[in-house]
Every structure is written in C-alpha cells, then in structure tokens.
C-alpha cells in the first residue's frame, strides 16, 4: 500500500499519461478508421485500393516495429515532434486498421434494402453512406470498436519503453528507488484495469442505449 501512497505523484502522472495516449490515439484511430472504411466501399477503384493496402499493411505490422521506425526513424529526416505525439501517431494509425475492419463489417450488416432505398431516392454515394448506412452500422459496431479501443489502451504500454510518460514505465523509477517490484506491479495492473473497465463500461452503456440486435 505504501508503494502507492508514497509515489502517488508518479503513479498519477503515469496514469494520466496512459489516459492521454488512449484518448488522443482513439480519436485519431476512429477518424482514420471511418475514412478508410469509406474508402474500402467507395465506387472508385483506386480509393478501394488505398483502403485495402492501408489495412493489409498496418494490421500485419508489429506495433513495436511501428514505434521503432517512427520514433527512431522520423527524427533522422528532421521530423522533430514530442515523443508523445509520435506515440499517438503510431498507436492511432495501427488501431485505425482494426477500426476500419470493424466499421466495414458493420456496413455489411446493414440490410441491402436500406442502401437500395436510399439510391432509389436519388441519393449519391456520399449521402447513402453518410446519412443512411453509417448511422445504422454505428449501432452494430459499438461492441467491436469498444474491444478494439480496450486493446489500444493496453497496447499503449509499449510507448513507455520509448521514453513516453505512461503507467508501465513508472516501474523503472520505483525499481531504482528500491520499492517492492511485486507491489509496484500490482498498482500498475490496477491502473490498467481501471482504464479498461471504464472503457468497457462506457461501451456497454452506449450499446444499451443505441445498440441494435441484428
């Protein structure tokens, strides 16, 4: 217990760091993922190709490799950003490929008639997708997106090893100061549990509110 009370500041910083990483990367991943899902069902072949390639490459890239390449590689081209921003970019791009697949399969669950009805009203592709299909897809996509974001939160632990302030990296300082390793990890684990449970509660709530059984 005293490991937590004596290092509350350190744990708090780490917790907030993980929270910041999770929130910003989630927003980036959601935005990119929805755009890429739109590309993947677009009538233009080249756009479909972009979406497919984006998903195929990023989904098969180890996240550590992405961090490695981004945080150590980009600075050599004079791209100097704060480490945290690099981490958000890496996490966001990586997760966006999973969001894209979730949204795309959500689009596939919307009954064909919906799209056909929209078209017969004379709607364009953008209108059909934006005002008819995506809002309905959103209802079935809540659960898979929720578990993807939980995974993002857990994956953010990797950022700590690339000198970003976050929860897991607090163990190093504690270890150097001679605190019990076991207890420092217990509190780290608890921090992650709080975050993941909060996300899953949020998405449970959203699903109860808007979810559709299809």
């Amino acid at each position: 217990m005293n490991v937590l009370t004596q290092n509350f500041q350190l744990y708090g910083d780490g917790f907030l760091g993980t929270l910041r990483l999770t929130v910003y990367s989630s927003l980036l991943a959601l935005a990119l993922g929805v755009v890429m899902a739109g590309f993947r069902v677009a009538p233009v072949g080249a756009l479909r190709g972009v979406g497919t390639a984006w998903v195929a490459v990023l989904r098969n890239t180890p996240l550590t490799l992405l961090f490695f390449a981004m945080l150590l590689g980009l600075p050599r081209f004079g791209v100097a950003l704060p480490f945290e921003l690099f981490a958000v970019l890496a996490l966001g791009c990586y997760t966006s490929s999973f969001i894209c697949e979730a949204v795309r399969s959500g689009i596939n669950t919307v009954p064909l008639g919906q799209g056909e009805a929209a078209r017969s009203l004379g709607m364009t592709f953008g209108q059909t997708l934006g005002t008819v299909v995506l809002p309905q897809a959103f209802r079935t996509v809540i659960a898979p997106v929720g578990s993807t974001l939980i995974a993002l939160c857990k994956n953010s632990a990797i950022a700590g090893s690339f000198s970003v302030t976050e929860l897991l990296s607090t163990y190093k300082t504690l270890n150097e100061n001679g605190y019990s390793v076991l207890w420092s990890f217990v509190w780290i684990a608890l921090g992650y549990l709080i975050l993941t449970l909060a996300i899953s509660a949020l998405f449970h709530f959203m699903e109860r509110r808007w979810g559709a059984a299809r």
Binding site: V41, P43, V44, G45, A46, L47, V50, R59, N60, T61, P62, L63, T64, L65, F68, A69, L72, G73, R76, F77, T95, F98, E101, A102, S105, G106, N108, T109, L112, Q114, G115, E116, R119, F125, T128, A143, G146, S147, T148, I150, A151, C153, K154, N155, A157, I158, S161, L168, Y171, N175, V181, L182, F185, I188, A189, Y192, T196, S200, H204, R214
Partner: protein, 304 residues
Amino acid sequence: MTARRSPQARSSAPPAASALYDVPGPRTRIRHFCYGVLTVLALAALLGWVVDLLVGTGQFSAVKWRPFSYVGIQELLLRGLGNTLKAFAMAAVLALALGAVLAAGRLSDHRPVRWVSTVLVEFFRAMPVLVMIFFIFVALQVQPLPALVAGLTLYNGSVLAEVFRSGVRSVDRGQREAAYALGLRKTQVMTHVLVPQAVRAMLPTIISQLVVALKDTSLGFLITYEEFLHAGRLIAINMDYTMPFIPIVLVISAIYIGLCMLLSWFATWVSRRERRSVKAGRSGAVRVAPAEAGSAMPGGSGIR
C-alpha cells in the same frame, strides 16, 4: 460481423456495383475515372516525396547498403530472425496447449475448476501482455526468452481458450446428444465428436490469433531479447557502418510484415475453403459463424 452481403449479389454483378451506389453511367464513369486519376496522382506525389527524401538523405547510397553484403551482418540478422521464429514457435505451441487446458476447465462439470479457469482467463486477457512480460522479466528475474514466451503464452493461451470454448459450444447440440446416445463417455464425446468439429470451424480464428502472437514476439525487443528488431538496432547503432538505420528499418519491416501477411493470408485461405465446403454441403454438421480471418487484434477480444 457475420452477416455478409449475399455471395450471389456479389458474384452476379460486376464489382463496380454494390448496395451503396448504382452501376455508373457514362458520365459517372468519367467522374470516377477522374477521382481515380487524382488518387493515383496524390499517391504518386506522396511516394515521390518519400523517395526524394530517402534519396536526398542518401539512404540509397551504396555505403549504406554495403553492410548487408557482409557475412557477419547477414548472420546477425538471420540469427535475430531465427530467435524471433523460435520464440514464436514456442509461444504458439504452449499457448495452444494452455488454451486447450483452460477451455477444458471452463467447460468442466465441476464448479471449482470452472471458476478457477474463468478467473485465470479473464485476468490474463485483461492485462496488457507487455505488463505481464515485464513482470515476469523484472520480478521473477528470468531470462528474456522464457519471460517473453511465458507472457505470450499466458495471454494468447487465454484468448485461444475462449476461441476453443466458443467453438465447442457452437457445435450443433444434436452431435453431443447423438454421441451420448451411442454410449460414449464425457471425455470421448469431447475428444471424438466436439473438438474435431470445433477446431475445424475455428481454424481461421486460431491462425489469426497466432498472427497476433507472431507480431507480439517483437515485444521481446523491449526486454532485450536478441530478436529481429534487436539485431537491426545493433547494426544501426554501430558507428562502423555509417549508421544505415533507414535501410535496416526498410529490410526488417519488409520481412516482418511479409511473414505476418503470409500467415494472415493462410488464415483467409483456410476460412474461404471452409466456407466453400460448408456451402457445398460436404460438412453440413458445423454451422458456426464464419470467423473473420485476420480480424484479431492483440487484446482485441478484450474484456467486455
């Protein structure tokens, strides 16, 4: 996730038509063509910019690529790749075994066994795999390889346990009842009737989870396990070779992504074959939701 657009609609119409847009007329076709050209131009510009950046900073100069022809460097890289594959093989085998044990525990008729396995599965799925690896590495003071393999095994084993369990539960109830009616014992029903069908149906998901394990072996880099990335870093920080960092990243990324893609592609192939054979009625017994191949994310199944 399961309901896909009916295959007939997809196969009878050209790929240009979907529920979301009409078959394009002549003017729309021209417009789409223009969009396509614009996209390609934008991509070409991006690619050109990147290549220009790489060439401008001399990444393609012979000096930076010469190290790859040295035997020592090649051996270092190959050893790294070998270590990665070694960790993957060990983690995959152990995770499959652990998954089978935990799934059996969760399907057990004995309540304490069920509870213990449920708690284990839920806990290990909820923890970031890196936290487990670090804990095993730092707190239990083991070597990097066992720490990495143990962490990956615990995490992927728990996820696979859920996959196995849902596979077994998705087998038609009549199968189990028929087997009991024939006088098979509980274990026989499981091993002879339920598991073979479950594994067959869940194979794509299992392979996708193995892709996750393969990707996560790169976490070994963070605990100084001498795997592929580690080998790359060793070369990159070595001053003798004028720091060919970018070439190393290019080569390593290509190999890593290629390996994972190969495995993902295998999962897709298996699931496509599976779906075709089910449709053809050759194995009418197993009707489970076709698993979306390769859709697993590290931690993707999460705690919900």
